[in-house]
């Protein structure tokens, strides 16, 4: 039903906004009955035919997103949204748009589909939206992504913003403004 989708988008976006303004904290998506996978429901509140996207993963996901959101599949370098279907960009994070100094907002957003998100010992984050520091553990994320992410976001305000979605429908966000530190559990991620 058309009206349900509209309202669902409002609920979904509020959780996403909560996530982006409180980096590293884990929030459950509303879990309202929908038409597609959680990833597609999440992207559906943001994407339409004005944006381009790319999937690092399989064709089915690309088709599903195109159909559900009306967005255009484009190259990785041109994409506004990149979906890393298996928790990795296969080292290609460096190719995503980071914006320009005049328009840093044109930097891309990457959605990582991962296994489990939890607010326990993992990477330590600090910066805007974070009261002191916070810890985020992500299983199902390629550990190589952390270094790439740090590099890609090393020249603020240029950078890429990340959203993580796990199998239970929880999300967490790390915008380019976050500082990613390490703690003694770093080795566990490797």
């Amino acid at each position: 039903m058309h009206i349900h989708r509209t309202i669902r988008d409002h609920f979904t976006f509020r959780v996403l906004l909560q996530g982006m303004s409180h980096p590293g904290r884990v929030f459950p998506l509303p879990g309202l009955p929908g038409e597609g996978s959680a990833a597609v429901e999440l992207l559906g509140c943001l994407m339409d035919n004005e944006v381009g996207f790319a999937v690092i993963g399989d064709r089915d996901m690309e088709r599903e997103i195109a159909r559900h959101t009306d967005s255009r599949p484009v190259s990785l370098e041109d994409a506004d949204f990149i979906i890393a279907q298996h928790g990795t960009t296969m080292g290609r994070l460096a190719h995503f748009r980071r914006g320009s100094l005049e328009y840093p907002d044109t930097g891309a957003t990457v959605l990582y589909l991962v296994e489990v998100l939890s607010e326990t010992a993992g990477v330590v984050l600090s910066g805007p939206g974070i009261d002191g520091t916070t810890s985020l553990r992500i299983s199902g994320l390629d550990p190589g992504e952390w270094q790439l992410f740090r590099e890609v976001n090393s020249e603020f305000p240029l950078g890429v913003d990340a959203i993580f979605l796990d199998r239970s429908g929880n999300i967490a966000c790390i915008p380019r403004s976050s500082r990613i530190g390490v703690n003694e559990r770093w080795d566990m991620l490797r």
């Binding site: 303004s21 035919n49 005049e102 939206g129 380019r176």
Partner: protein, 298 residues
């Protein structure tokens, strides 16, 4: 209101006459909302930076809060509790109009109680009561560009922000001090956000500027006519521009109190009595003032 209840209500309305027939939930079309949502997320990721966006026309005029309204309509949920204030007052012209409109197109409950609200839209004031991490404050912005005072061209101010070349702003403040002995900027006092962008906090008085620093709540700024969205996430540094020997100062209300509730720690409106010509002061934050009066006279 629970979503279940809202859906039932919607089903009923579809059989009766809808007050604004044919308009979707949240009034704006989905494309407009999605663009605004994308802009909001980028604004949050780059604190203090002005994200340009398309900005649709609303049934209220440009200059009357269309930017704030578009943000509110893009993120409102039917179970939100909405407060709208103008110059701190719930009953003011602008606030009433906006409130009615949002309630009609989104089914939200309205409140005048800052603590009870989940979403607050405001023009030119921040509520006196500290807001929490579960709340969002949406501010209406007439002039999003802090540097417009020293540079009329948008291309040039964009370059200045890109290169963090703010020397002309500092010069402007210095010249103020030379001329008047003080920085004379009253509302729209420029601040540095997250140590990077100089930002215009909208025409809030100096009194409210410290509330932006390391707050618990998210602040979203919407300029509809100028087509810009910007944000200050919680726990973010927001520092008013000042010199070592000419520090930032808020307005001075010492010796004055609210004639309605007696508060000596709020921003006060000065009113000149018609008959006697006497000066009286009242809390600008009317909801807070009401609460205090009720507390004394339950």
């Amino acid at each position: 209101m629970l979503m279940r209840e809202w859906l039932q209500k919607e089903a009923q309305l579809r059989n009766d006459e809808t007050p604004i027939a044919g308009y979707p939930f949240g009034f704006m079309d989905e494309g407009a909302k999605k663009e605004i949502r994308r802009s909001i997320l980028k604004a949050v990721a780059i604190p203090g930076y002005q994200v340009p966006y398309g900005s649709r026309e609303m049934p209220i005029a440009r200059g009357w809060g269309t930017g704030g309204l578009q943000i509110t309509l893009s993120l409102v949920k039917p179970d939100d509790v909405l407060k709208v204030i103008d110059q701190g007052c719930d009953g003011s012209v602008n606030a009433v109009n906006i409130k009615k409109f949002v309630a009609t197109v989104a089914g939200v409950t309205i409140t005048t109680d800052t603590r009870a609200a989940t979403l607050i839209q405001t023009r030119h004031r921040i509520p006196e009561e500290r807001m929490s991490g579960r709340q969002i404050l949406v501010l209406q912005v007439p002039y999003p560009e802090a540097l417009r005072e020293v540079e009329p061209s948008e291309m040039e101010t964009r370059r200045m922000h890109a290169e963090a070349d703010y020397s002309r702003m500092w010069l402007f403040l210095y010249e103020d001090i030379v001329k008047y002995g003080e920085i004379t900027i009253s509302y729209r006092y420029p601040v540095t956000v997250n140590g990077r962008y100089i930002m215009d906090p909208s025409p809030i008085p100096r009194w409210d500027v410290p509330k932006l620093h390391m707050a618990d709540t998210l602040f979203l700024f919407g300029a509809g006519r100028e087509k810009r969205i910007y944000a200050i996430p919680p726990h973010t540094t927001v520092e008013p521009l000042e010199f070592e020997d000419h520090k930032f100062r808020t307005e001075n209300f010492s010796g004055k109190a609210c004639a309605r509730c007696g508060a000596t720690d709020t921003y006060l409106d000065e009113v000149i009595d018609n008959a006697s010509g006497e000066r009286r002061f009242f809390c600008s934050d009317s909801g807070y003032c009401d609460k205090r009066r009720l507390a004394w006279n339950p």
